[in-house]
Symmetry: C2
Amino acid sequence: MNLKQLSHMLSLSQTTVSRALNGYPEVAEETRRRVMDAAKRHGYRPNPSARRLATGKSGMIGYVLPTGKAVDIDPHFVEFLSGLGDYARSHELDLVLSPADADDQETTYRRIVANRQVDAVYISSPRPADRRLALVNTLGIPFIVHGRSEGFDFDYPYLDIDNEGAFHEAARLMLQLGHKRLGLINGDDRETFAIHRERGVRRALAASGLALGERHICSVTMTEENGYRSARRLLEQDEPPTAIVCSSLIMALGVVRAVRDLGLAIPGDLSLVAHDDVFPWLRPENFPVPLSTTRSSIRLAGARVAERLAARISGLEEGARGEVWPVDLVVRGSVAGAPA
Amino acid sequence: MNLKQLSHMLSLSQTTVSRALNGYPEVAEETRRRVMDAAKRHGYRPNPSARRLATGKSGMIGYVLPTGKAVDIDPHFVEFLSGLGDYARSHELDLVLSPADADDQETTYRRIVANRQVDAVYISSPRPADRRLALVNTLGIPFIVHGRSEGFDFDYPYLDIDNEGAFHEAARLMLQLGHKRLGLINGDDRETFAIHRERGVRRALAASGLALGERHICSVTMTEENGYRSARRLLEQDEPPTAIVCSSLIMALGVVRAVRDLGLAIPGDLSLVAHDDVFPWLRPENFPVPLSTTRSSIRLAGARVAERLAARISGLEEGARGEVWPVDLVVRGSVAGAPA
DNA sequence: CGAAAAAGCCAAAGCGCTTTGGAAGACTCT
DNA sequence: AGAGTCTTCCAAAGCGCTTTGGCTTTTTCG
């Protein structure tokens, strides 16, 4: 059932039927009703390919997926996706993932924009002066960044959590408990979120006249194994930290294992806080010692990004609005006063 | 730069240029070269929307993503996606995720097929007599199932691992080590993979004249917490199992925690084997006691599914070929002889 | 050498929608 | 009543590609 058939059986022109369906004003109310009614009754749905060709709009949002033999997709992605999908579903938005060589995403961005394959894109895990950001900005496709970049002379729309504030609070808590030597097990410090977190910790320390030495920072991809290695590196030096702030629950697993291997105890010998993106399958309260966390649901962020993308596509949102969500600090059993 | 312009500057008809580019035979070799050359030089790329409208082919593969407030996307998905994307990239295939109400995916399948939004789809986590499978089968869109269903009177193309064989081997190993009481911590037993795994364990036990009682089976969604609860349930009964086979590494984390909470030891009091889908961020060799696993890379499966989908789209693969991958049994420190 | 077959190219008709530029009729206003 | 203004609808022109059917020109072969 296509427009031609439908308009023919209504004895109307395609023009009128099309306008009636798309809510244009120049069609009589009664006619519109007739059309809408017939469309529903016959289950007419405009062919998206045709509509796309005519309008250039696709009704889809895009994401360029970096891939490669050595590239692992972040497990956070799936949670973000849950939220995104949840919103997108209720608005009949589809998401197209365009896999790209991790080292050459530009080609892919250019392609999907030139081809008008999607109406908007989102960018995640941005770095300072991220080239993708500059690119989509000049390409002129609506977009939203999940996270933040730095060092641009233009503003851009983003959704981020207050990473600096969160880690500032976490570190401050440790300091208040009397800890003097803090360790930071961070994610890849080429990404802005990690930079912000480190900044937060440094700021808290500075306020107490302390500093964060190079040997008290680890910056690694967030795997259990790296959590373990980092913890050992931190804890096996002279004057090891008595408190650690860690960028992910998965790494925290490794930290806990290392602590145990070293014959230490949490929170007796080491206080631990980790960032929790709220995975359904791994919960901080279920750690051997319930884990204190800075918590922010990445899933909600996904939903919000979808919502804002939809708003941008339909012109409801404009400009470079940045949105920063506060982060909860949830204190559980894994923190205590500094050992004597 | 579109076809019209390109053909005009070559003084050829659109027909010829189109044919030259798409490898049709009725064009002279020299002409084809000229065309290809000019196309490359001017960076001509056919507009996919137009091509779609004309051919009905979209160059994308689809996946219907079940969503909902209470629906969690499986973390395995992201690994599968890595593989899929890796292959898709090299073939300029995009993946479109169509979010659907988890309780009504049929509408979405019908939509993407009717709209010809994608050339093929894949289905994951199938259940016995899975309705999605029957649906896409009748809708006539090329598809591949990742996993298997059961109870249909038609065959279908799939890629699955030998879940039954894997868990049969795992259980047999336990039996050979003298264990008499086995526990199974399985995934959701409405899904075929879980059924197959249970079947494998039962078969191994039966061969030794043993059976798997209801109280020795847990069937739960695969979270750390459920792993913990299941392990406690199994281990706190009279005559608890001395060996457990577990369906995922994530649950195994919970099992390990439970064992520790109960003051037991692995492998002294309990032998443990879990299935490993090969996540980059959680590795069995890094468990407190290196974990024995049945191992199969879900990422490779993703790549293979993409490959086969591409083959189906281009007509290279036909029929209902099923492909079952063997599973490695990797023995590490977490298994030992049954306690006296 | 002439007829038949093959090779090489093209004009034009779709694919199914949106949108432009009117046109006809109804209504308002002087 | 006639001019001007809305209102409501329509024919037709795209959007950029593929594909059908046909038309020349060249090659093949008895």
